[in-house]
Amino acid sequence: MSLFSQHSAKPNALFSGWLLPLALLILLATALLSVTQGPMSIPVSDALSALLPFNFESDAPAHYQLVVTGIRLPRTLLCIAVGAILAMCGAVMQGLFRNPLADPGIIGVSSGSAAGAAIAIVLLGLVNWQLPEFISALAVPLFAFIGGFVTTVLVYRLGTTPNGTSVVMMLLAGIAVGALSGAGIGLLSYLANDQMLRDLSLWQMGSLAGATWSNIVLAFVTLAILLVVFMRKAQALNALLLGEAEAGHLGIQVQKLKSQLIFFTALGVGIAVSVSGLIGFVGLVVPHLIRMLLGPNHQRLIPYSALLGAALLLLADLLSRLVISPAELPVGIVTALVGAPFFIFLLLQQRQRIA
């Protein structure tokens, strides 16, 4: 362990002076951009004054206040929480699998959540129970969360033998469970009517438009919990980079560490998905960029991934609002458009390293 802390101490000292302020500044700048820019052109000064708790006399139209604090602000906050959660979970997942291409999607969380959402949209729609409105509004996020969680547990169980968890087995189980979820979604889309199909495909593209204050609180509480848990396990994750047996020799309970981290990443991704639908590639791209810039030390990888993930999702969401205004692009499309080429770039790099 001492070896690791020594190793990480040097670059820490080098960066700690300006790195954190810089990252916070980037986040603040993107957040301000997200609050001040949108399809409705509001002068920046008016947008900023709308955010102030007191209202000094201004001749700005009354609806500016609503647009800034009622529409843009909740969205900005949800973006920050979801982006940070996804990027952090991606970083932990990559460390856990010792595979830079790992992504919460590959162990089946996303496809499981999508199947859960499909059940809520199609089956509950077909049964046509007269549920109270606030329950039916909760059905899709709740089922998505349950779906994501169940698949993660299933994949983990399939990948775990008395001898430990095999990464390869888990990846294969992830593929199999993903295929099963896909078949379930296919079956449900066959039963669905046109409206349900549209709902389902829109949900799968992800959007932060449905930001409500209860969603925001939920997402930030999750973010705080994950940040604490992941930071406490950061050293252990560093040790795991050496290999499971080696980490075990360093006194780390590898099996326990893995099940805990998988539980918390599933929790994080499940909640992120339930409040915003499927938003891919943030969890893959962001930890990578950070690793390229700052190296693989999880003590820095995790918090900086969170900061950059938030900033990146803010920018993606801003794009999604502006590109085809007055309509809106699902943000999952924007992140995929940026993320997929980056993924290919990573693959090519890996290939060169192998060759």
Partner: protein, 284 residues
């Protein structure tokens, strides 16, 4: 938490605002966003297109009119719409999401949800509601008269002619056919025209039927959307792409017609009635 309890209250308010607006509408709306194919169609038929500032992505506009498109009617963006400074957003009960509509309403934009059922009565209600909101009562009377005339005509036709056993298909390529079942505008058009939709007891919405099922139903008339028929290469193309259709009574007599696709989108509208009349004339 409060937000979750809002929707019921919210829809109650919407209902009230609709009643209030139809009863007390003093000034016709000047800037309206139309979020539905059906609604846009009626607004244009009322000659009120100057009062429209934007439409949703399902709406069809005449070629000489170009308006901003606000996206899919279930995925409206509150801020995007507000940027257009509308007086009102008019859509169906499928319009959403509620969070956006709620925000629009807080900003003083009226939200009107009109009945979207696939019945003639619902179409007539929509015409009346829009005529009141936009202030075109005379044009509405004209539309009602035309509609009544068409319906009488349809009635006469279907009484005089023998009901024709029919199937309606959509096809995106030469491999797969989707058949219109219950709860489709195609079904309503067939019934208005006095045809029998053989798939109605078996399917809802658009689903594939097996070849054997198609054969055993013995359709005497096959309908396609104009787009599908063009894509497949006309009647001859259909018969050569789908041998099973060629083996039905309709295939043998080449009784294959096209329905204008615009009449099929977004529920029963004015164009659907026109198509029903056209179809019933061909059935004579």
């Amino acid at each position: 938490m409060i937000k979750r309890h809002l929707p019921p209250l919210f829809s109650a308010c919407l209902g009230l605002s609709l009643i209030a607006s139809t009863a007390l509408q003093a000034e016709p709306l000047k800037r309206v966003v139309s979020a539905g194919a059906n609604i846009t169609e009626i607004i244009i038929a009322l000659d009120a297109e100057q009062q429209m500032v934007a439409v949703d992505s399902t709406s069809q506009l005449p070629s000489n009119l170009s308006l901003p498109v606000v996206g899919y009617h279930r995925q409206l963006s509150a801020e995007g719409l507000l940027a257009l400074a509308p007086d009102a957003v008019i859509g169906s009960d499928e319009m959403g999401p509620d969070s956006s509509l709620n925000q629009l309403q807080q900003a003083g934009v009226q939200i009107h949800r009109l009945n979207s059922q696939s019945t003639v009565a619902s179409l007539e209600q929509r015409i009346d509601a829009l005529a009141t909101l936009l202030g075109h009562p005379a044009k509405a009377t004209e539309l009602h008269q035309k509609l009544k005339q068409q319906l009488t005509q349809l009635d006469e036709y279907s009484q005089s002619a023998k009901p024709m056993n029919t199937l309606f298909f959509m096809s995106h390529d030469a491999k797969k056919l989707l058949t219109a079942g219950r709860d489709t505008t195609a079904n309503s058009i067939m019934e208005l025209a006095g045809a029998v939709n053989l798939a109605k007891p078996h399917l809802n919405s658009y689903k594939p039927l097996s070849d054997e099922a198609i054969l055993s139903m013995q359709p005497e008339l096959l309908l396609f959307s104009q787009r599908s028929l063009d894509k497949l290469g006309g009647v001859q193309g259909v018969l050569s792409s789908f041998p099973v259709l060629a083996a039905t009574p309709a295939g043998k007599t080449k009784a294959i017609y096209a329905i204008d696709g615009h009449a099929l989108i977004g529920g029963l509208g004015l164009a659907s009635i026109d198509e029903a009349v056209r179809l019933s004339q061909r059935l004579q």
